[in-house]
Amino acid sequence: GESVGLHLPTLSVQEGDNSIINCAYSNSASDYFIWYKQESGKGPQFIIDIRSNMDKRQGQRVTVLLNKTVKHLSLQIAATQPGDSAVYFCAENRAGRSGNTPLVFGKGTRLSVIA
């Protein structure tokens, strides 16, 4: 299944299928991006990040793709599991000499995994 991010906030996928969650970011100066997972009643949890000098980064069952030309970020989850059900947020940040500048979060996409 595929989400168009802000325009489709809920994504339902069958267990075992791959999920793709999309995000459009706004600031062309942003050079660091993070995907967070937020389960009900919990704070956001770091999943994976990517710097702007990369266009792809892989983690365990997750891949983040960055297209700077169109300011688009996606999160791919392989073999989606029930435990992946959560709201996923992309966040952009302008890293640099000042270090820890705040994150700007997108609206989020709710992923529901159907067993």
């Binding site: 967070y36 919990k42 704070g43 947020f89």
Partner: protein, 116 residues
């Protein structure tokens, strides 16, 4: 290693009452953030501390909100008086400052505030 600790987890108050939230960041993290999260939305920054100094409070409604981080460790966020529209989740996060490095922020579980 303990994560970011927040208390209380839930708070219900009547409008015009004061309320305070407490955050204990991860040990060694010099940067602390308070975020506001409305239902169905992403977190929005209220204030950022580097050690005990508030370096970004441009989004903090200063007429009713205040924050402090004495000694550069724990922090308290206060609302006085609370309004109905303040009902939300208040998230605290912390990170370790790097020079030009990445910025992994660790979030606490949040305090869910309901103003009646």
């Amino acid at each position: 290693e303990a994560g970011v600790v927040q208390s209380p987890r839930y708070k219900i108050i009547e409008k015009k009452q004061p309320v305070a939230f407490w955050c204990n960041p991860i040990s060694g993290h010099n940067t602390l953030y308070w975020y506001l999260q409305n239902l169905g939305q992403g977190p929005e920054l209220l204030i950022r501390y580097e050690n005990e100094e508030a370096v970004d409070d441009s989004q903090l409604p200063k007429d009713r909100f205040s924050a402090e981080r004495l000694k550069g460790v724990d922090s308290t966020l206060k609302i006085q008086p609370a309004e109905l529209g303040d009902s939300a989740v208040y998230l605290c996060a912390s990170s370790f400052k790097t020079s030009g490095g990445t910025n992994e922020q660790f979030f606490g579980p949040g305090t869910r505030l309901t103003v009646l």
